[in-house]
């Protein structure tokens, strides 16, 4: 009996490696790569843009918050100013600090306002500007 220990070869053709056609795979891979890269770039750009926008938004919110707080502070100070400048408050302080208001003494008056005939207020006439005069004019003046 002729026996042989040999694994029978089944389908030799199947075991043969399939020949790769480099010329067709590489461009396809490259195309996919380019496509994926485009998606990646787009998404990254979008995310980056969104992040930038949000960062600016947060910054603007911070500034707005600051402005709002300053506005509230100004409103508070304005009310405080109005309170302090009101006559009841001033008169109370005058009494408390014993500082009665009175009309000024004549020698204390530094500026007088001329009242025009039509009721309007005239500013006091300003001192005329000095001008140099000629010798001839000086002699005329001396002769007067």
């Amino acid at each position: 009996m002729n026996l042989s220990a040999k694994t029978p070869r089944r389908n030799e053709a199947k075991r043969k490696p399939v020949a790769l056609h480099n010329s067709s795979v590489l461009p396809a891979t490259f195309k996919v790569f380019i496509f994926l890269l485009a998606i990646f770039v787009t998404v990254t750009a979008r995310v980056s843009y969104n992040q930038k926008a949000e960062s600016l938004n947060r910054e603007s919110l911070r500034v707005r918050e600051k402005i709002h707080r300053l506005e509230r502070e100004i409103a508070n100070l304005r009310i405080e100013k109005e309170k302090l400048s009101s006559w009841p408050h001033i008169s109370d302080k005058l009494v408390a600090l014993n500082l009665p208001l009175r009309t000024p003494d004549p020698q204390q008056v530094k500026r007088l306002i001329m009242i025009a005939k039509d009721g309007g207020i005239q500013a006091p006439a300003s001192t005329p500007a000095r001008k140099s005069i000629s010798k001839r004019e000086t002699s005329k003046l001396r002769n007067l």
């Binding site: 919110l61 508070n76 304005r78 009310i79 009101s86």
Partner: protein, 594 residues
């Protein structure tokens, strides 16, 4: 040894498993994205969408020069989330900090912070525990205090304590013009105007409230993208009154002096421009401080100048006499017998305060003779008298934006009795509001041109800066004879001169035209013998008036004559206001003419 068939089977099983997983994921995706889309989208939207209620500022009120009379002061409500605040120790610490900074009861704050759950009773009576996420620790805390406390809280890194920004109505001038300005109350979060200018212009000065919808991040900050609806709020309109704060301060100060001296039940003063009808100052006593609500008395904040009426007494005489002059019935020198102070007419006696003999019309005004005035009115006749008094505005409202405003009590002609013609011209049986009397004197002072009083100068839209000026100006002349006004003013000048009833109303350097009024109060249909209104109303400088001023004391103690009680206050107010207005003295003008 593994056989190839086994490997193949396993591969198939794995692939099948992954395929089933894929199918499952696909089904799940379909369920989540398609079937439950609306439900889940709504849930997500609810989580990331915030609603913020925003309200503009209530309009502010200023005087004509832009001095703030009512404003909004920033403040804060301090609230907490008891679930976040922490344990007993933390609550104790926070309560201690807030109580010591704001001078509040520590135990109360601690109690609120520790209120982690609340028993809620349902409609069917069943009770259940509900977690508490919001408690108010202090409301309307002043801006400076709130800011200081905010820093302390952030420094100590306490969590769950929040500062909600808000504003409250503030009256920086306290009592100044309080009865006219009115005030607002808070009904929960709603501002309710109670009376005065605040109430009259409530619709105009109320801001709009909007709900803003936006997509937020984890910290609650609005994101730039997403479905958002942002509406702009509109602030309320700012009102500029015709009031001038310095004049108002003078008026209030002098009225206080009158009250201190004569201790009346009430007193009021009104100062108005006779040409435009602008009310430049108006004050009344008693008054109140709108910033101190706990001690406020309704009797003090009632607006007497628009709501109350009084018998004007002798202050009515110039109107009846000006009518008689205008109709040509009398001249300033026409003589009347004043019956030595007692005269029977229509079955009733009419008295003068002093016995007077024969007087000219000028002297009747100067000495304030009731009998003389009644006799002039009889010569005029009822219709002419009625027409004259109505042309001065008696019986009709003044147009001032204050509600309620009385139209006074002036019977229609058909309801006059036989005594009306002798009583109305001397200010009895007729009731007028202080505003009506001032308006009538404005007409006398401005040459006889009818007008309405104004309290509002302009309205400003703070959002756009647009300003709307209130139209005003004198109407047609009520006098047919242009000389009438001059004649009556000349007579009224005598009142404040030697021999007149109000020498104390005189102002050095100026001619004052005016009239005293001492009227008995009408109580239960009878004139009281002990309760009076003491009034002086006039204008200065008489020939070209800068203002009309009314001063009235209701039930003064010690004396009740207008010439004694009200006239000195008129003089001192007038003197200070003339100086403030920079009005030239008449003496100066006469010298200039010479």
């Amino acid at each position: 040894m593994t056989r190839n068939s086994d490997i193949g089977t396993r591969s198939v099983v794995v692939m099948l498993f992954f395929f089933l997983c894929l199918i499952f994921l696909g089904v799940r995706l379909y369920q989540v994205q398609i079937n439950r889309h609306d439900e889940l989208y709504a849930k997500a939207k609810e989580k990331y969408t915030a609603i913020a209620v925003k309200s503009g500022s209530r309009g502010e009120i200023y005087d004509s020069k832009g001095n703030l009379l009512i404003g909004n002061i920033p403040c804060a409500d301090i609230v907490a989330d008891p679930q976040i605040v922490g344990d007993e120790f933390k609550c104790r610490k926070i309560a201690n900090l807030i109580a010591s900074e704001l001078h509040l009861d520590e135990a109360k704050i601690y109690e609120r912070l520790m209120m982690k759950t609340r028993i809620v009773t349902a409609k069917d009576g069943s009770q259940s525990a509900s977690t508490v996420r919001y408690v108010v620790l202090a409301d309307k805390v002043d801006f400076a205090d709130a800011e200081r406390l905010r820093e302390e809280v952030s420094k100590a890194k306490y969590k769950g304590v929040y500062f909600n920004e808000c504003t409250k109505r503030f009256y920086p001038k306290n009592e100044l013009l309080a009865n006219i300005l009115g005030f607002t109350n808070l009904d929960r979060d709603k501002v309710v105007a109670v009376f005065g200018v605040e109430k009259y212009f409530d619709k105009n000065i109320s801001p709009t409230k909007v709900k803003n919808l936006y997509v937020r991040d984890r910290l609650g900050r609005p994101l730039t993208y997403g479905d958002s609806r942002i509406n702009e709020v509109r602030d309320g309109l700012n009102i500029y009154l015709t009031i001038q704060e310095p004049i108002q301060a003078i008026l209030e100060e002098e009225l206080d002096k009158l009250v201190e001296k004569w201790k009346p039940r009430a007193a009021y003063a009104i100062l108005a421009d006779p040409y435009s009808g602008d009310i430049l100052a108006v004050a009344q006593r008693p008054t109140y401080n709108p910033n101190e609500r706990s001690v406020m008395n309704p009797e003090a904040w009632r607006n007497r100048i628009a709501e109350d009426t009084f018998d004007p007494g002798s202050t009515m005489k110039p109107f009846a006499i000006s009518g008689a002059l205008d109709y040509g019935i009398v001249t300033p020198s026409t003589k009347f017998d004043c019956e030595k102070g007692r005269w029977f007419y229509g079955g009733k006696i009419l008295r003068d305060s002093h016995p007077l003999g024969t007087l000219s019309v000028s002297e009747i005004i100067q000495k304030s003779s009731n009998i003389g005035t009644a006799k002039i009115a009889l010569l005029m006749g009822e219709k002419r008298l009625n027409d004259t008094l109505r042309s001065f505005g008696f019986g009709s409202r003044t147009g001032v934006p204050l509600s309620p405003e009385t139209s006074g009590l002036f019977r229609p002609l058909e309801k006059w009795d036989n005594l009306s013609i002798t009583r109305f011209p001397i200010g009895q049986g007729i009731a007028v509001s202080p505003l009506q009397l001032v308006r009538a004197y404005c007409v006398l002072a401005n040459g006889g041109y009818s007008l309405n009083l104004n309290l509002v100068d302009r309205v400003e839209n703070p959002d756009t800066g647009e300003v709307m000026q209130v139209k005003r100006g004198p109407g047609p002349s009520i006098f047919k004879n242009p000389e009438t006004q001059h004649k009556i003013v000349e007579m009224m000048k005598l009142v404040t001169q030697q021999g007149g009833t109000a020498e104390k109303a005189a102002i050095k350097g100026y001619y004052v035209g005016g009239k005293t009024g001492t009227s008995q109060k009408c109580l239960n249909g009878h004139y009281s013998e002990s309760q009076f209104f003491a009034t002086f109303v006039g204008f200065v400088p008489a020939d070209k008036p800068s203002f009309v001023l009314l001063v009235t004391a209701d039930e003064p103690k010690g004396n009740h004559f207008g010439g004694i009680v009200a006239a000195p206050a008129f003089s001192s107010i007038g003197y200070r206001v003339l100086r403030y207005m920079n009005v030239r003295p008449n003496a100066f003008e006469e010298m200039a003419k010479k």
